[in-house]
Amino acid sequence: MKYIDEYRDPEIARRYLSEISRLTRHSWTIMEVCGGQTHAIVKHGLDRLLPDTITLLHGPGCPVCVTSVELLDQAIEIASRTPVIFCSFGDMLRVPGSRKDLLTVKAEGGDIRTVYSPLDSIKIALENPHKEIVFFGIGFETTAPANAMAVLQASRQGIKNFSILMALVLIPPAMEFVLKSANSQVQAFLAAGHVCTVVGYKEYEKLASTYRVPITVTGFEPIDILQGILMTVTQLEKGTCMVENQYTRAVNTEGNKRAREIMGEVFEVVNRKWRGLGEIHSSGLSLRDKFAAFDAQKRFNLATIRVEENPECISGLVLQGLKKPSDCPAFATQCTPENPLGATMVSSEGACAAYYRYRRQN
C-alpha cells in the first residue's frame, strides 16, 4: 500500500541499521517522546535490531497515560450524572481512575459515547438539546486544534449544552521536565512528528541549545524511526545539538499556521498536573475567559477530588525514561491490561501496554 509499504521495507531497514552500526562509536541514550513511536519500536522489534550501544528510552508522549487521576475522576463524576452524554476518545475509557473507569460507568447506565473528533460531540449536542454534552479534551498539540474548533463552533452557533473537560497538555515542557530530572540519562530526543505538524519545531531550538541535546523530529513508521535514529546518532557522534527534521513529508518549521491561530484564540497556557510526573509549569491548555461558558469544570459543581495513586505503580518513572516497564515487579503479574494499576498499561500508546503486548514471555 502506498505511503505505508515503503516505510516498512525490510531492505531499507537493513541499510539504515548497518549505517547506524557503522557510525556509532560511543554509547548513546535516546528518548523517543511519543507513545506511537514506542509502540512501533516494540512491535517491530527495532530496539533489538540496533547495536547494543544505543539505548532507547520511552518518553511521556502518551496523552491517555499522563492525564491526571483527578481529571479522570472528574470525568467519571460528570459521566455518572444525568442528563449528561459524555463523549471521549475510545482509548480513555479503560483507564483506571481512583475507584473505577469510564467503561464501568457505562455498564452502570452512564451515557458514554466514543467519538473520533471533538466536532462529533457538537453534532451530538445539536441532536440532544435537553442534555448536557461534555467532551473529554485530552491530548497534546496534535488534538488541540480540533478541540479549539469545537469550542469556536459551539460559540458561533450559540450552542449552550456543550462543554469541554480540559486536559490538553504540551510536549516541550514535559521534555524539559525530563531533562531537568536529576537522574536523567537522556542525551537526545526523537521528537513527536504529529505534534510538530501542528506547532512546527522552532520551540525545540531553545531546548536543544540550553540542554545541549540534538532533537530530531521523527515519524512513526519503522523506516522513519530508523532514519530518525541515524540522524540523531550522526549528531551525537559529531557533538552537535541541532533540531533536525526527519518527518519532512508532514512537518515544516512553522507547523500549521491556521491551527496555531485558533489554538491561540481559544486557549491559554496554564500549569497542569501530569499523571506520574506531578505538576509541570506552563504545560497545559485551558479555555480563555471569553470561552469560560464551555468549561466543564466551571459548569459542573465538582467537589475537590483527592486521590492516591496505587503505590506499586512505577508509571511515573517509566514516563520519564528512568525505568523500563519490565523493571516493575507488578508488570504482567498484578498489573495487566485487564487489571491495570496505571494508565501506561492501558493506552494503545502506553509503554507498559507495548511491552505486555509484544514482549511478554509466558
Binding site: I4, L93, L103, Y116
Partner: protein, 351 residues
C-alpha cells in the same frame, strides 16, 4: 427448592474487579474467555464442553452428530455484504462446518423490539431463507418473543444447528500436531471494518463489504479429497489473532505466523491504519483456518482456490515443535513478536 446443592459453586469471578458485565465481556478477547471459563464452563462442566470447540460432537446410536448455537446482536442490522439474517444462518452453519460436520437443520429464535418494522423483519427473514438455501440447510423450528420498546435493539436472533459427521476424523484443537501447516481461505478484516464504517459513519473511498459467507461446502471439498484435517476454526470476533491464540492455548503448541503471507485488502489496511487497529484482530464472517499435515497442505490450498473459488487461499504459518502455547508472528520488517488476545474490544486511538 433445596439450594444446598449449589452451595459448593461460589461465583468464581472476582466480584470486586467486575461487579457488572462490561461490553468487553462479549468482545471475544480475554475478558470473554474469563467469563466463559470461570462462570459458564465452571458451572456446566462436562467432557464435550471442555473440548472448547465451535460446537459439540456427540455419539448417537446411528453415528456422530454436531450441535452448536450462536446469538446475533449486530448493529447495524443491514450492512454492505450482508445483514443480521445472513449472519445468523452462516455463523451457525460455519460453526458446524468447523466441527467437520455437514450442516442439516437450524432453529431460529427471534427477540423483537416492539415497534420494529415488519418490512425490515421480512427482509431479514428472506435473507435467512436465501442463506439457508445456499448452505443446504433447513430452518425447522423457531421461537418468537417481543419485548417492550427500548428493551431490545430492534431485533436479536439466536440460531442453533445440527449437522452429521460423515467421516471418521476427529477435528478439534487437541488434534493439532507439530509441523502442521496453517491455511487461510482469504483476505481478513472485511466484516469488522464494514460494520465499523456503518456504525460510526466513517466514509472510505470505496465501500468495504462484509466477507459473510457459508464455509460448509469448502470444508466438504477438503474432506472429499481425503485431506487429513486436524483442526478448523472460523475467524469471527477477535479475528485471526484471537483464533490462533485460542488454538495455541488448547493444543499447547507454539504457532508461527508469517505476517506478509496473510492477505489483507488495501482498503481494509488503510481503514485499520486510520483507526489504529491491527487487521489480525478485526472480525470476519466468512474466513477460516485449517490445520493440516505439511504433506496435504499444497493440495488443500489448491482445492480451496480452484474448487471453492477462494483465490487468495494460502499457507500463513506453521505449528512448531515448541510446546509453549503461544503465537509468534514474523513481521514484515523481519522481527518476531508475540501475538496475544486483546483484553476487550478494540478501541480507536486518539492521534
Amino acid at each position: 427448592m433445596n439450594d444446598n446443592i449449589y452451595q459448593g459453586l461460589n461465583c468464581p469471578l472476582p466480584i470486586t474487579d467486575y461487579p457488572r458485565v462490561l461490553l468487553a465481556h462479549g468482545g471475544g478477547g480475554k475478558l470473554m474467555h474469563q467469563l466463559i471459563d470461570k462462570v459458564f464452563t465452571a458451572a456446566f462442566s462436562n467432557p464435550l464442553l471442555e473440548i472448547r470447540h465451535d460446537g459439540a460432537v456427540m455419539e448417537t446410536t446411528t453415528g456422530k452428530l454436531a450441535f452448536t448455537t450462536d446469538s446475533y446482536v449486530v448493529h447495524p442490522l443491514f450492512f454492505p455484504g450482508g445483514d443480521i439474517g445472513s449472519l445468523a444462518v452462516n455463523g451457525t452453519v460455519n460453526d458446524l462446518a468447523m466441527c467437520g460436520a455437514r450442516p442439516l437443520y437450524l432453529s431460529a429464535g427471534f427477540i423483537i423490539e416492539e415497534g420494529f418494522l415488519i418490512e425490515s423483519l421480512w427482509r431479514i427473514v428472506l435473507s435467512m431463507k436465501a442463506a439457508a438455501d445456499k448452505a443446504g440447510v433447513a430452518i425447522v423450528t423457531g421461537d418468537t418473543k417481543v419485548v417492550d420498546r427500548g428493551k431490545g435493539h430492534g431485533i436479536f436472533i439466536n440460531t442453533a444447528g445440527i449437522g452429521i459427521m460423515e467421516h471418521h476424523m476427529t477435528i478439534n484443537p487437541g488434534q493439532v500436531k507439530a509441523g502442521d501447516a496453517i491455511i487461510i481461505n482469504g483476505d481478513i478484516g472485511r466484516h469488522g471494518i464494514a460494520i465499523m464504517a456503518q456504525r460510526e459513519s466513517l466514509q472510505f473511498e470505496t465501500e468495504i463489504e462484509s466477507d459473510c459467507a457459508p464455509l460448509a461446502d469448502s470444508v466438504q471439498q477438503l474432506i472429499n479429497a481425503n485431506i487429513e484435517i486436524h483442526c478448523l476454526r472460523d475467524l469471527t470476533r477477535g479475528g485471526l489473532a484471537t483464533t490462533l491464540v485460542e488454538i495455541a492455548e488448547s493444543s499447547r503448541y507454539q504457532l508461527f505466523l508469517n505476517e506478509s503471507a496473510v492477505p489483507v485488502r488495501d482498503d481494509v489496511r488503510g481503514a485499520c491504519e486510520i483507526l489504529g487497529f491491527e487487521p489480525c484482530y478485526v472480525a470476519n464472517e466468512g474466513r477460516f483456518v485449517a490445520f493440516v499435515p505439511e504433506a496435504d497442505a499444497a493440495t488443500a490450498v489448491s482445492i480451496l482456490r480452484v474448487k471453492c473459488g477462494w483465490n487468495q487461499a494460502g499457507i500463513i504459518g506453521r505449528v512448531t515443535e515448541d510446546q509453549s502455547a503461544t503465537v509468534i508472528m514474523k513481521s514484515s520488517i523481519g522481527a518476531e513478536r508475540i501475538i496475544d488476545m486483546l483484553s476487550g474490544e478494540q478501541l480507536p486511538r486518539i492521534c
